[in-house]
């Protein structure tokens, strides 16, 4: 070999060494712990019982012994059968990938080992270049030298993407099956193990059929690898998988969580909330929240059926926007706290929090404010008789003739019955007598905050209000005139327990307890035999009061009601204001669409609570009267019990 060649070779070797070294030195540094990302304290939102509503991290790290062995087997078999033998790089896989890529002229086939995938997840993006591939291999080789196989597998299963915005097997198990990773069955584990290769495609929430096909593939690979028997595979294929759309382990309060996050971010900044490890204590009750979500889901399924829509779960992503929405808010009228909040049917598809942001016409659910304003005058009694007949009111040079819902006029009746049957004409007459400004002031005093027009059509709910406002105003009545500033954030503390923010409950007396009781008594009749009688038909027997509401052309269906313990407002409607019309063209009223959701919710959350009555304040007496005349009933005639003020 000539001297020149030797020099050239030496230079070439030095160059290769230099390039190799500079490439090595430009690679990312490995941390002491592969789970470092997930180890920093995340911000946690707690409920009123100290339970976790949501951890603001999209992964939850668990040690390997807390993951079902079948899942680990499935993952290793599927992703990297030679995992326990190689040093981070699979020659066989590499050769196979090179051949495939050369034949197809692409870089689609990666042949990556679990260690390479981990390196990619931790440090690199998803671009497929040869340089990136080499970098991944180099980092993978270091990972293998620095960490045990168990640590590598642990980091891998805690980092991988399982779709639905969740990473790591623990959170994936909770999200899809509402259980911990340690408790996964073979059927569940094999389904989960199949997702990471292509999460959007194999996500069982969006594509259950494809996910099950993928599961079968995983199971067959496990049989081939000797992990399981053919019989076990067949049993797993036959197993019915119950997917949990409501995750009791991590909460099902996405709308509420978003509300809390928005509030906290506004106050402390996004970095502090997302990465600052804050501890946010809220008033939300996880059990009530779970039942609220369940009731909304079940109630809406019935509404969908009436509207002739296929089950929501089966609808395509773009079709889901065409489904009706619902909102439910539950308050504790005595403490002034928010106990449950469901802002819509699917946070991922429609994240608008309708409890707070949707301003809709309340329809007849506004009527109690008119009656309240009237009853504040001691001269007005629920037993007063008004006549339900044709009415003509000149408005701006035209004549307005309010009609009843069923286009019938019922003649004379006492106010209690007029409210129970939601008689429009009598409510407008009362409004005219009390005057709109007085009603508006009373409604504001009780807790409404939106702009209310001072005109007679307000009596029938022609104003835009949110479910939160409505629940708050009804809660003032349920609380016998004490109005709270309803809150859901109790305290925000730093990771080191420094108090950063706290809420001091504020309340004041805005109405007389006697007036409130008279109205409660009237609203009880709504449920007992009035427009919300479906509540009783559904078997809810506890003392309860409430009012239905249906806005014009069935665009909004409301039910706002309360027991002595809880107040809940339910709204159902389309976001784009379309009428809620069933396939037979009948409209969905508050009684039909919203009251069942309220009833399902209240029935379940109060199932074990002792029955309590609305306490009757002194100065109130009960009288039995004729619902048409307001005087003592004739024998054999209809009668109704009415709470009235004692005559002095």
């Amino acid at each position: 070999m000539s001297r020149g060649v030797k020099i050239a070779l030496a230079v070439l070797a030095a160059l290769i060494l230099l390039v190799g070294l500079s490439m090595t030195l430009s690679l990312p540094r490995l941390p002491e712990d592969l789970n470092q990302i997930a180890l920093n304290t995340p911000t946690v939102i707690y409920g009123d019982d100290g339970g976790v509503i949501k951890t603001l991290a999209n992964r939850e790290v668990v040690p390997l012994h807390q993951v079902a062995p079948v899942f680990l087997q499935a993952t290793v078999t599927l992703e990297d059968a030679g995992f326990y033998r190689h040093h981070g790089f699979s020659k066989k896989g590499f050769v196979r990938a090179v051949v495939y890529n050369l034949l197809h002229g692409t870089l689609r086939q990666g042949g990556s080992t679990i260690t390479q995938q981990l390196a990619k997840n931790l440090f690199f993006g998803f671009d497929r270049t040869w340089l990136r591939k080499i970098q991944e291999v180099l980092v993978a080789l270091q990972i293998e030298q620095q960490f045990s196989k168990e640590k590598i597998l642990e980091a891998y299963v805690n980092q991988i993407d399982f779709g639905s915005g969740v990473y790591g097997v623990e959170l994936a198990s909770q999200t899809y099956f509402a259980k911990h990773a340690a408790d996964l069955t073979l059927a569940e584990a094999s389904l989960l193990a199949g997702i990471p290769r292509w999460p959007p495609r194999y996500n069982p929430f969006s594509n259950e059929k494809v996910a099950r096909e993928r599961q079968s593939f995983v199971l067959s690979r496990m049989v081939q690898n000797g992990d399981i028997t053919r019989q076990e595979m067949e049993e797993a294929q036959r197993a019915v998988l119950v997917f949990s759309r409501i995750n009791p382990l991590q909460g099902n309060a996405e709308y509420f969580v978003q509300l809390v996050k928005d509030d906290a971010r506004q106050k402390f900044g996004a970095d502090a909330v997302n990465y600052g490890g804050l501890r946010i204590y809220t008033t939300l009750n996880s059990r009530l929240q779970y039942e609220a979500s369940r009731a909304v889901a079940e109630g809406l399924a019935q509404v969908d059926a009436w509207l002739g829509l296929p089950p929501y779960q089966e609808a395509r992503w773009d079709q889901k926007g065409d489904y009706p929405q619902a909102a439910l808010i539950c308050l504790d009228p005595r403490l002034g706290t928010v106990k449950a909040l469901v802002g819509g049917r699917d946070f991922r598809r429609a994240p608008l929090n309708r409890v707070m942001a949707a301003k809709r016409h309340p329809g007849s659910a506004f009527k109690p404010f008119v009656y309240f304003a009237a009853l504040e005058n001691p001269q007005v009694s629920p037993a007063d008789v008004y006549v339900d007949d044709e009415l003509a009111i000149p408005v701006g040079g035209k004549i307005w003739s309010p009609d009843n819902f069923d286009h019938r006029f019922r003649g004379p009746m006492i106010l209690k019955e007029a409210l129970a049957h939601s008689i429009n004409v009598i409510t407008v007459k009362l409004m005219e007598q009390v005057t709109p400004p007085v009603v508006v002031k009373a409604a504001y005093r009780l807790g409404l905050q939106s702009e209310l027009p001072e005109n007679l059509s307000l009596a029938l709910g022609a104003a835009d209000v949110s479910p939160f406002e409505m629940a708050g105003a009804y809660a003032t009545i349920a609380n016998f005139g004490t109005r709270h500033r309803y809150y859901y954030l109790m305290e925000i503390r730093s990771a080191s327990n420094e108090l950063l923010q706290e809420t001091i409950p504020k309340s004041r007396c805005v109405a007389d307890s006697q007036t409130c009781y008279l109205l409660i008594d009237m609203l009880r009749a709504v449920i007992q035999h009035g427009t919300a009688a479906s509540v009783r038909r559904m078997g809810f027997t506890r003392p309860a009061a409430g009012k239905t509401g249906t806005s014009s052309d069935f665009r909004d269906a409301w039910f706002v009601g309360f027991t002595p313990e809880l107040v809940a407002a339910v709204w159902v409607g389309y976001d784009d204001n379309r009428p809620l019309r069933a396939t037979n063209n009948s409209g969905l009223t508050g009684d039909r669409a919203a009251a069942p959701i309220w009833t399902l919710f209240m029935q379940r959350v109060l199932a074990d609570a002792p029955i309590s009555e609305f306490p009757r304040p002194s100065g109130i007496t009960l009288e039995t009267v004729d619902p048409r005349t307001g005087s003592g009933p004739m024998p054999g005639e209809a009668s109704v019990e009415v709470a009235i003020r004692e005559k002095k």
Partner: protein, 292 residues
């Protein structure tokens, strides 16, 4: 024989054996290379930059924690984490919820200034506050809510009360007719009179041990501030002690109670009184006993 056969068989497949040997060697070499590269990477780990997704996340975490530290810092001057309190009503609601609140002197003064004048004066009279402010003894205030009553206890650094106020206490029963001070007319105490407010505040500032050396009768000190008419401190010692005259209302008139106080304790008391009466002529210490 067998040996020959085996040899033949090996020679017949020598290329296969060679290929196997080469592959095994390559495999082993590759394994060694993998380990070697891994070790080089491990050795250079500390020299490499913190780049990539993991470190970006780490940076965000640090930024978040930094942000929280800044928030904690900025809140250190604000004892009310529910937002500023702008009225006595809000303070009452706050205390009703919290039951107890301890404010440092500066925090209390900020609160005092934030409240409307009339509300602030109900917490503590402006003159009494001025007296407290004029001394360095006052350190903190304990605000206590109990049975719907708010109590403010102004403490010194030893947590000893200097002054106690109750903003919502019922006004003292009107005492009619007003009682004129007998001590004011007593020539022996000329120039030795002390307003009860100053005396009581100064007394509260003394350590318990000295308090008992001034008036060794805790029951007497239970009397309400409005019952006190005047206090006088004798100008000289007698039998090693100083006569302290306290004039208090009893029924329709006033009664003078005298106490023999220790010279040392009276010295501290006068010192405190002079601090509180800053601007007025200082009260002199009692003169030593003179032999008749």
């Amino acid at each position: 024989m067998i040996k020959e056969k085996l040899k033949k068989w090996i020679l017949a497949y020598k290329w296969v054996w060679l290929a196997v040997a080469v592959m095994a060697a390559a495999e082993a070499l590759f394994d060694v290379a993998e380990i070697l590269v891994g070790q080089v990477m491990k050795g250079t780990n500390a020299l490499r930059p913190k780049t990539g997704r993991l470190w970006l996340e780490e940076e965000k975490d640090l930024a978040g924690q930094q942000q929280v530290l800044l928030i904690v810092d900025s809140l250190s001057n604000n004892p009310f984490r529910s937002g500023p309190l702008n009225s006595l009503e809000e303070l009452t609601a706050y205390l009703h919820y919290k039951n107890f609140l301890r404010l440092q002197r500066e925090d209390f003064l900020s609160l005092y200034q934030a409240l409307p004048d009339s509300d602030a004066r109900r917490l503590v009279d402006a003159q009494a506050l001025a007296a407290l402010m004029s001394s360095s003894a006052w350190q903190s205030v304990n605000l206590i809510s109990s049975d719907g009553q708010m109590t403010l206890i102004f403490n010194d650094s030893n947590n000893q009360p200097l002054l106690v106020t109750q903003p919502f206490a019922p006004p003292p029963p009107e005492v009619e007719p007003s009682v004129t001070s007998q001590l004011q007319q007593d020539g022996r105490f000329s120039g030795r009179l002390v307003e009860p407010a100053h005396f009581l505040a100064a007394y509260q500032r003394l350590p318990r041990r000295l308090q008992l050396q001034v008036i060794n009768d805790p029951a007497f000190m239970e009397k309400k501030a409005e019952e006190w008419v005047m206090v006088a401190i004798a100008a000289s010692l007698r039998s090693g002690s100083v006569t302290l005259a306290c004039e208090v209302r009893e029924e329709q008139s006033s009664v003078i109670h005298t106490f023999q106080a220790s010279e040392l304790a009276i010295g501290y008391l006068i010192q405190e009184i002079n601090v509180l009466r800053r601007g007025a002529e200082p009260l002199a210490l009692p003169s030593k006993e003179t032999t008749p």
